[in-house]
Symmetry: C2
């Protein structure tokens, strides 16, 4: 039932999900060569690599730079020759890269699209050269994607023959939208639909992706080979999780999540089968945690840092960020700083020490009173100004240590705080990276419990002090301050924010779903007014359907209020 | 030669360039009513208003929110009724707004585009109701524009009859691209092509715009009526400068720049003529300065601030920002703070006092030594860490005063510094707005001289101390420090940055145009590595072809270097 005759021997395909770095053409080419060597050693005849793997993804406005377009094209030519020199000349490789079309004055290009513009392309490499090129047809321009800003769409199918099989090529969004390559695969009687992807991680997206691949395989009447990128790139994490689906929708093979891998699969023999180690999807909390670890690790390593530094308040947010940091980098590369003030409780300081003892990270203590007192002696401050001052003295201290010692500063704020502006700009918001900025507070607690449980399950020390998980959250910026003094219970807050931020629900919708109107109006107003703080907040790993950042683009100057801005009608 | 018979009496058209606020449907409707009243009092039969004037522009992701789409549509219905109640029912008004098309399940919409999506629309209002609707055809998705993210394009011409004339409607980008409304106007034998615009200010753009209008008027064979928005919206300033061009390309009338106005013009009488006050374009430096003043004024007022605060170093940048602030808000709403350190020179402090005396702004002095000493007593810092500490103590001081007194903090950095990262994140980079972030250092000096000259010309005190203009620039973060210690001469630097940042030229291009290769490599590398700082920098008024911000979207994690990242080939 798989659409090709049994007489033809099995075709061995490798899905090489690798972790490139944006702009590193030389390093990425080397990664690709290593993966192809592994695939060839495993007997692969066709190697599928991810979308724009040679340049990294997304390259954003680099795509518009002629020097980079040219360099990418030249790097692909060189890579093709190098692969042949490596002994992989007989293997067919599908490799994503940035290309460009020559000037419009030269007439239409060979792929039938206007010249003079960058394209998101897949090179077919064999015998030491690029024997064909496919140009992505459907360009996503929503959510985090701006591809209609960058690329000219392709309009031509590409079907190639590999060891007696007909292979149709597609790139990422081509699979998500109807028409184009899926239809071309069916019309061209393709045996294999090979899809090169750079599909960022979001919670629950894997289920959607698998279901999509199953449907499209059936529509195409072909075995669908879905190879996805791995790795962190600023706010995005690519989760790998490459898939192979039979024409009848059966899942044949699956690569791991959040790790590089070369997955081998035979198709068209007596039965299609994964010939490597089968992987199953991680459970939901392990998956989120894995995304956060990889996102941080890659931000640190790809930007050339060796270590991170963060303030440890004894609270849950900084404890979870410390645990993620240790899992990403190892304890010796993580530096905690306790920054107690007059309002810091004894247990907070004890919890910070407990965390350091459990994880093995470096810990030092810098009391902020001398600096706060110096400011208070020069300026007359009280109330919010005094609270913010403490946070800013902490931020300045962390930045000073970063400047002196070279660590990347981590901001430890969560998504709930960032939504309602419950943070101090240039204070606790300082940092080069904010690992949990897209994690709502309730999920921070869940991750803490999950991580501790995982440690207990494997007989190691749970990293996060139980008291950091159990105690009621407080910013400790004035005596006896509790988050619940000014915010609702986090379970209620997070449900409300999910509907407003990710769902674009109106105030009326929220009231209709059971929330108190006054509370809705207050929380939505706080969220709208905090836009200016979010604009200056560090980047952090996206895990939700809609993260703050390029996913959600709102004006700062904005008088629209869901509750009060509507006309009387 | 104007395409309509002389027998028909003249048509009086009003171009109402008003200054709305994003999201303020009620306030914007009131602005529109006032402008239409003025137009009617002036005898207008057709009133053309800007693109999306009812919602403000750009509304960004608000366009995707169903509650806002619905509210905009309802506000337009209410506005139409209110205009009739105001006695303007017989006048035809073209008013830009956000609309949406009903669900796809309901079948194709009346304008022939898929349902269920937002549209950038122009309502034709007469007799108390919306009698027709035009949907923008060409959607810009480059530079600062993301309209393919938001809007479904329209595909249908709209030609209406107004007092015996045939009027074809277009919206902004429809004019910049071939095909669509310009062609429809010719095919439909339109007498008038009415274009609703929200076209942001850029240096030298007015010339391009006028030439475009002249060409399109000739192509359409119609009088072109170009009405543009006025006002600041986050990083954008809309400059007004509405135009009327005859079918033969003659400029008939021009509204002022950077000010609201209702421009009246009669067409089709014995001769087309502006019946109001004619305006000529401002000279180049006055124009840039005007954009900066309006950008700051509107950010302050539309975000509900009453005053601004900024650090005064005695240098040229803070002096120019202070002068802009005074022109935008009046001296009494501007608060300067001298923040001297051990490394501040006597003349710096004297220059800050001189500036305050010249402009009449508030000035106070807060020496930073006590706070710096407190940090130095707790942390072992030297070199760059100590330099940055001083800047951060200043930033924290300004933020504390902002929190205590309610002023908006202004960052005073210029584009040259922001390019090469010659600023301290969370230090001099703190602020809610950065008025000169898109102004290269050499242009800062030109603006200072121009502003002083303009003052001298009108017999008032030049605001900027001559010594702030004349002295060599220094950050004064260590003894004897000069900008030229680590940067080339600003004339050379700015030329280089213009080619790299705005022109996307490669290192090879720069060397070919005469720059030293080592210098090119160092400056380009500094610019690339400063991306993380720019990401957290406050918004500021765009005046160039390519401002940092949404205009130039680059990854932080990026190993591409123009000079060294290319493969050997």
């Amino acid at each position: 039932m798989h659409g090709y005759p049994r007489a033809v021997p099995a075709l061995r395909i490798a899905l090489a999900q690798v972790n490139p770095t944006v702009g590193d053409l030389v390093g990425n080419a080397e990664l690709i060569r290593q993966a192809v060597r592994t695939a060839v050693d495993g007997g692969a005849q066709l190697v599928v690599l991810p979308e724009m793997v040679l340049t990294g993804y997304p390259v954003e406005d680099l795509a518009l730079r002629p020097s980079f377009q040219q360099a990418s094209r030249e790097a692909m030519t060189a890579l093709a020759a190098d692969l042949a020199a490596d002994g992989a000349g007989e293997v067919t490789c599908l490799i994503g890269y940035l290309d460009h079309l020559a000037d419009a004055a030269d007439g239409p290009d060979d792929v039938g699209v206007p010249r003079g513009r960058p394209v998101n392309a897949a090179a077919v490499v064999r015998d030491g050269r690029v024997i064909a090129r496919y140009v992505k047809h459907h360009l996503p321009n929503y959510g985090v994607f701006d591809e209609q800003r960058y690329f000219v769409p392709g309009g031509e199918p590409l079907l190639i023959d590999v060891a007696g099989r007909r292979v149709c090529v597609a790139v990422c969004e081509d699979l998500w939208q109807a028409g184009g390559p899926v239809q071309w695969a069916r019309e061209g009687a393709a045996d294999v639909l090979a899809v090169l992807n750079a599909s960022p991680y979001e919670r629950d997206k894997d289920d959607v992706r698998l279901a999509l691949c199953q449907r499209r395989a059936q529509e195409a009447g072909a075995t669908l080979v879905y190879c996805n990128l791995v790795g962190g790139q600023d706010e995005l994490v690519f989760d790998g999780d490459s898939l192979v689906v039979a024409p009848d929708g059966t899942l044949l093979a699956r690569a791991p999540q959040f790790a590089s891998d070369v997955l081998l699969v035979d198709i068209g023999a007596d039965h299609d089968a994964d010939v490597g180690t089968p992987h199953t999807r991680l459970e939901p909390l392990a998956e989120v945690y894995g995304a956060l670890v990889l996102g941080l690790r890659d931000y640190v390593s790809k930007n050339g840092f060796r270590s991170v530094i963060l303030g440890l308040s004894g609270g849950i947010d900084s404890a979870v960020v410390a645990a993620i940091s240790v899992d990403a980098l190892g304890a010796d590369r993580v530096h905690g700083v306790a920054l107690p003030s007059a309002y810091s409780s004894e247990h907070s300081i004890a919890d910070a020490h407990d965390l350091a003892a459990r994880t093995g990270i470096h810990l030092r203590t810098v009391p902020i009173a001398p600096m706060v007192d110096a400011f208070m002696g020069s300026l007359e401050l009280s109330g919010l100004a005094e609270e913010n001052l403490q946070a800013r003295v902490r931020g300045t201290t962390l930045m000073a240590l970063s400047n002196a010692e070279g660590h990347l500063v981590l901001a430890t704020g969560n998504k709930s705080e960032l939504s309602v502006g419950y943070s101090t700009i240039y204070g606790d918001a300082v940092g080069g990276f904010a690992p949990i900025k897209d994690v709502p507070k309730t999920l921070v607690w869940e991750l803490a419990r999950w991580r501790n449980g995982a440690a207990a399950g494997e007989g190691s020390t749970p990293p996060i002090p139980e008291s950091s998980i159990a105690k009621p959250p407080s910013a400790e910026l004035r005596p006896g301050q509790m988050d619940t003094d000014s915010l609702p219970d986090y379970v209620e807050l997070d449900r409300m924010l999910e509907q407003y931020v990710a769902g674009d629900h109106s105030a009326d919708d929220l009231v209709a779903s059971g929330f108190d109107r006054d509370l809705v109006e207050r929380i939505l107003r706080l969220t709208d007014l905090a836009e200016y703080k979010r604009r200056q907040y560090p980047p952090g790993t996206k895990i939700s359907l809609r993260a703050f950042g390029r996913d959600r683009r709102l004006p700062i100057t904005n008088r629209w209020r869901e509750s009060s801005g509507r006309p009387d009608s």
